[in-house]
């Protein structure tokens, strides 16, 4: 079976029961995505598939052949951080770091949803073309990622710095 992970094509065979998370961690040794609850409740396993965030623990790997999978390793590297990774450091968006790769992947996916004008449960006017990245919107949209250390305030600040008004990444482009 063929997979595209972080831009690289990979061929391998595996048991149909393998989750995408286990494939990434156990077979490809990409340890960024974490196994927290293994039932879709914590978001630590979040990765991007064709740019959309999903819980890789609930995904059967066989369903994701030939799809473009991005893990945190594909977003940035220690010597070339993604702007959101830099913002997480700047704003103390983590303590133990276990949920962080999931938070980062999830926030990158969320930013794309924002650009596409996807509404949220707290959006007042669902028919609006665009929504403001307020702390309320951000917290609702990031509710699929838990942080047991309680670094939420730093996480909100970091995401707002990276993707909020005056988007640093866009300014750099």
């Amino acid at each position: 079976m063929r997979f595209l992970v972080n831009g690289e094509a990979i061929d391998l065979d595996f048991d149909t029961r393998t989750s995408l998370l286990d494939l990434l961690r156990e077979r490809l040794h990409l340890f960024g995505a974490k196994k927290g609850c293994n039932q879709g409740a914590c978001g630590a396993c979040t990765v991007l598939v064709d740019g959309q965030r999903i819980n890789s623990c609930l995904a059967l790997a066989v369903q994701y052949q030939d799809r473009n999978i991005t893990t945190v390793e594909g977003l940035g590297a220690p010597d070339a951080l993604h702007p959101l990774q830099a913002a997480f450091i700047e704003h103390d968006g983590f303590q133990c770091g276990y949920c962080t790769p999931g938070q980062i992947c999830s926030a990158v996916g969320m930013a794309e949803e924002f650009k596409r004008g996807v509404p949220s449960y707290v959006s007042e006017d669902l028919a609006a073309a665009r929504f403001a990245l307020t702390p309320d919107e951000l917290r609702e949209r990031m509710s699929g990622n838990l942080c047991r250390c309680g670094a939420h305030n730093g996480i909100v600040d970091a995401i707002q710095e990276a993707f909020g008004p005056g988007d640093k990444r866009e300014a750099a482009e």
């Binding site: 048991d15 149909t16 029961r17 989750s19 293994n38 039932q39 879709g40 978001g43 979040t46 959309q52 965030r53 999903i54 819980n55 609930l58 995904a59 059967l60 066989v62 369903q63 999830s106 996916g109 969320m110 949803e113 596409r116 004008g117 996807v118 509404p119 949220s120 449960y121 959006s123 669902l126 028919a127 917290r139 609702e140 949209r141 990031m142 509710s143 699929g144 990622n145």
Partner: protein, 329 residues
Amino acid sequence: MNPFFYERASDRPAALALGARAGAKYLGGGTNLVDLMRETIERPQVLVDVTALSCSIDDTEDGGLRIGAGVRNTALAADRRVRERYPMLARAILAGASAQIRNMATVGGNLLQRTRCVYFYDEAARCNKRKPGSGCDAIEGFNRYHAIFGASPACVATHPSDMAVALAALDAVVLVEGEAGARAVPIVNFHRLPGDTPEVETVLQPGDLITAVTLPPKGFAGRSSYRKVRDRASYAFALVSVAAAVDLQEGVVREARIALGGVAHKPWRATAAETALKGGPATEIAFRAAAEAEFVSARGLRHNAFKIDLGRRVITDMLVKLAARKESA
């Protein structure tokens, strides 16, 4: 997880042929099924991936919408026609699960998700739904999340979907294909009450495939909403949720639609409240009386009787706010 064969259906006939095999189950986003397989509550021998089929949302000739069963929850909630013409449905979908799960979950799978009753998941507990005839530990147990309408001595579990509650209020229809051909099932008749067979949750026959859900033209865009009350502000199942819509003319209720989530084995259409409202004044007193009329048939358990008062209040408050809304367009 038990071993299974994985087959990807390229078209509908292929899916139906594969789905007719012994031990076959259709696979959408897998967000509930994979979890249940891991717990060995579900043990399919063949998984038929139908995510490549029926993935579009199309206008129907009568002015409604036809939503393919493979449409992802996010895509449905983000669709401009749904947001403008059926905002109650968009908000209900956005009230459910997390963004990651909504990106994976399909419309068909959302309808077929199973209860989150903790005793259903707990191998050590008695559960008539997981093991018919074994008993129910929820009735005398921790039943805060359980049913107050239509429950039976065999089962007090609730259906977890938010989307289906709005679909019930909108009079949506589920299109099904199977050995006997195609048929259309009104959503309010699609899920079953538990009775003596809580393990049978829908009217689907083995091998039946949900192909689409259709919405009638009337979407109550001006005065409708979905409100979900839960134990935390986001990403939790409903204690009580309400999809409500009213059509007013000069202070009189021409038509009302109310459906409740988190209170029954299926999305609960509040027909007693609707009947009480129809033709009556759009006043808080009338709204409260209608909400009370609905809950006459409610039966609380030790930990969930609070839902009766909560449900009445949420319905009344929503109707008051909807009636006060200035209708645009």
